[in-house]
């Protein structure tokens, strides 16, 4: 006699759980998408920095410094 309400109750509970799981997945998907956008943004920023004149100057300076250091090392080794 009480089988039907019990079954309705269980179905409702199952539905709630399914909806909660769907919400969790929806939120996770959104967070992943937001992370993806952040990553894209940071990559763009990085590219902009790398293509800036200042970076090129500083990067060139860094390479010269590394070359000099390597040269000095070799001289010292001799």
């Amino acid at each position: 006699m009480s089988a039907e309400p019990q079954s309705t109750h269980e179905s409702e509970k199952a539905l709630e759980e399914a909806l909660a799981e769907r919400n969790r997945l929806w939120a996770e998907l959104n967070r992943e998408r937001a992370d993806q956008r952040e990553l894209e943004y940071l990559r763009r920023e990085l590219k902009m920095i790398h293509s800036s004149t200042w970076w090129k100057i500083a990067g060139g300076y860094g390479r010269i410094k590394a070359l000099l250091r390597a040269g000095l090392e070799r001289l010292r080794e001799r």
Binding site: E16, A20, N23, N30, A34, E38
Partner: protein, 720 residues
């Protein structure tokens, strides 16, 4: 009888390739009757005989009668086909499907006026020519691989794109193209000696017709000359562009060097793709550098040929032509540099949504429980925005009830260019901690159970977004009334007629929506952060200190009315001290006052606990700041209007409610300052009132309203 397609060729001494070209034309696999029409302008190399041998209809004109535009109009007149394919005497269809591909282009849409295809270099062409052709035709059809239909997008953004790179739409080369007769009858070739195809392409596109690129409609066609002759050819070509289209090649040591460098770099990449590396690149790139320098020189000098003496012009020209004549060709209004045009005209987001339609939603089954997925479309904000504080509080409340939210910042006016993660950081640090991710713009909008518009711009943006089971409108104020009668008040008011179901802040706003617009509406009442705005009694309050909410950014706060009232009070009671706050704008106060600008809630709470009276004027829905003052035990002066009394009851019960006059504001403050006992009692009643209005209650009201709407099918919308 099968329909006719015509292949039309203007000829002058073209025997070198004409036989090859006409053989390839005759070999076309096409399900129409093929007609070849040639106009010969005085060949002496037997070109006319070659044409006749291939069954062409040959029409002869005098050499001086020839012009690229005029002669092609003549060819169109002589042709009997509904579609006329143009090639030149040195262009050979590359495959038997060339003509079929051109005709296929017209099947893409009924408004296709012209179809064109790529040119392939002849086997003897050098790498610069090959590389340039590959780059040129890769502009269309996803790198030159797909059929590509072009039309002019007349939105501000579309026109801006067109002005940036018109050639992407206007390019048409009658070395290899096909014209629909109906289109030519409306937009014929201009009777110009050169650049007739570019002009036709532009006029067809600007007349609103479509143009198609078909990658299979290929012809073999390239020119190769010794370097000096290349210069002369480019001189001729660019002189013509100046004469007909008014083009002047920009130049300058840096610009030109940069251009040449770019072209050589492009050749280098092309050569590397062809497997040329290392030292093998050196001679090739040296040839490239010479070629592109000569081309630039030809372009710069050619487009300034009017400044060169005639004899020199003739010597610089491959044709030996000494003339320079600027043709009177109608300019393009769309490409006019002097045209008044704002590509970032911000109201396009409204304009494109007319004629007015109802909100678009997905079918869904009724539902009155269970966690929901909720998208919020919000406008950009400033720190201190009460409207946004409310939105983020409500999001937090719904998240606490198990609903998943996402926030989309719709910014049609480009007020905030920060990315989503930075916007989110600001919400969490400067407003309210929420879990929802934040996206800049609507590109990432995903399907959801419920989507909220939260301000009138956002209602326009959300109206047609797909994938929403229900669309609701969080109406915090009567926004059309924020504006003087004009476009903005009309655009704002239209959002109440879009069929959104509304959840309004205050019963007053809900009444307006129901009574004036026939909108289904529920309401909520804002909470107050009682942990921050703690109650303080009379003890510790500074006599004569008045806190005035003077947010000039919002007209409805009637800041100058408040200041006029305070000026009156200063004259009556010289000892009072005034603190104005809430605005990013510089203060303009008619008496010495302290300007706090925008301060964090804890500072304001301390002010409210110390002051003896507060002033917040609300011409529309009453301000959250008023509630925060009430929570802090600060006796308040507000305006006596329906929007306020619907919440705060009769004057003197919870606040001094005054008429919108300076003397009435001063009277209200006088009453508070004179009778501290009555003011304190009023403040205690106000605190009790605010204590009932928690954010939990507001969140529950919103959730109840959502489920109430979701459980019931939509009522037919009144369109009055």
């Amino acid at each position: 009888m099968a329909a006719v397609v015509t292949v039309a060729i203007p000829v002058l001494d073209g025997a070198r390739y004409l036989d090859e070209a006409l053989t390839a034309v005759r070999g076309q696999e096409v399900d129409r009757e093929l007609e070849i029409v040639v106009v010969d302008s005085g060949s002496t190399d037997g070109s006319d005989e070659i044409a006749r041998r291939h069954g062409a209809i040959v029409h002869t004109i005098e050499k001086h009668e020839f012009s690229h535009g005029g002669t092609r109009n003549l060819l169109m007149e002589l042709a009997s086909g509904d579609h006329v394919a143009f090639i030149t005497q040195d262009a050979t269809p590359a495959t038997p499907r060339w003509l079929a591909a051109l005709l296929e282009g017209f099947e893409q849409a009924p408004d296709v006026a012209a179809v064109f295809g790529p040119h392939e270099p002849r086997p003897d062409a050098r790498h610069m020519i090959r590389s340039e052709m590959a780059r040129h035709f890769a502009v269309w059809g996803d790198g030159g691989r797909e059929v590509d239909v072009h039309r002019l997008d007349r939105t501000p953004a579309g026109v801006a794109e067109y002005r940036d790179f018109p050639g992407k739409l206007t390019f048409l080369s009658d070395v290899n193209c096909c014209i629909a007769r109906w289109a030519w009858e409306r937009v014929p070739y201009r009777e110009v000696p050169y650049a007739e195809d570019q002009l036709l392409g532009r006029e067809l596109i600007e007349a609103g017709y479509a143009k198609v690129f078909h990658p299979d409609a290929r012809v073999l066609h390239s020119h190769d000359y010794p370097p000096g002759e290349f210069f002369k050819r480019y001189f001729d070509e660019f002189r013509s562009l100046r004469e007909v289209l008014g083009h002047v090649q920009p130049w300058g040591p840096k610009t030109t060097l940069w251009d040449v460098r770019g072209l050589v770099g492009a050749d280098k990449r092309w050569l590397q793709d062809q497997g040329v590396h290392g030292l093998d690149l050196v001679p090739a790139l040296a040839a490239s550098a010479r070629h592109w320098t000569l081309r630039m020189a030809g372009a710069i000098v050619g487009t300034r040929a009017d400044r060169i003496p005639e004899p020199l012009r003739a010597r610089l020209s491959l044709e030996g032509r000494s003339s320079f004549f600027e043709h009177d060709v109608p300019g393009s209004a769309l490409l006019d540099d002097d045209a008044a045009f704002d590509p970032e005209w911000p109201w396009e987001f409204v304009r494109r949504e007319y004629p007015l339609e109802q909100v678009k939603m997905e079918p869904r089954s009724p539902r009155a429980s269970g966690p929901l997925t909720i998208n919020w479309v919000v406008p950009p904000w400033q720190i201190g925005s009460g409207g946004h504080t409310t939105i983020f509080r409500l999001i937090q409340q719904l998240e606490r009830r198990g609903h998943a939210c996402a926030v989309y910042v719709f910014d049609p006016f480009g007020q905030d260019d920060r990315p989503g993660h930075e916007l989110r950081e600001e919400i969490v640090e400067r407003f309210i901690p929420i879990d929802a991710p934040v996206f800049a713009g609507l590109d990432d909008f995903v399907p959801c159970d419920v989507a909220f518009a939260t301000q009138w711009w956002t209602a326009w943006a959300l109206r047609d977004l797909p994938g929403c089971g229900e669309k609701l409108y969080l109406v915090q104020d009567d926004e059309p009334r924020f504006y003087a009668t004009g476009a903005e008040s009309i655009f704002a008011e239209e959002t109440y007629r879009m069929g959104y179901r509304c959840i309004a802040y205050t019963p007053w706003m809900a009444e307006i929506l129901v009574d004036r617009y026939g909108v289904e509406s529920r309401y909520f009442e804002c909470g107050t952060d009682l942990d921050v705005y703690r109650f303080a009694g009379e003890e510790g309050r500074e006599p004569g200190l008045i806190a005035v909410y003077a947010r000039r950014e919002t007209e409805r706060r009637a800041v100058d009315l408040a200041l006029a009232g305070l000026m009156e009070l200063v004259e009556r009671r010289p000892g009072i001290r005034v603190v104005v706050f809430g605005s990013h704008q510089p203060p303009s106060v008619p008496f010495p006052a302290e300007d706090w600008g925008v301060r964090p809630p804890r500072d304001l709470a301390a002010l409210y606990r110390r002051a003896s009276a507060g002033v917040v004027l609300s011409l529309t829905t009453h301000s959250l700041v008023a509630q925060e003052m009430m929570a802090s035990g600060l006796p308040l002066v507000e305006l006596n209007g329906r929007s306020v009394t619907s919440e705060l009851g009769e004057p003197g019960k919870l606040a001094q409610l005054v008429d919108p006059r300076p003397d009435a504001v001063a009277d209200g403050l006088d009453r508070i300052l004179d009778d501290r006992g009555a003011a304190a009692a009023m403040a205690r009643r106000a605190r009790a009132f605010v204590e009932e209005r928690t954010w939990e209650r507001a969140g529950q009201q919103i959730q109840d309203a959502i489920f109430d709407f979701l459980a019931r099918p939509r009522e037919p919308f009144a369109t009055t």
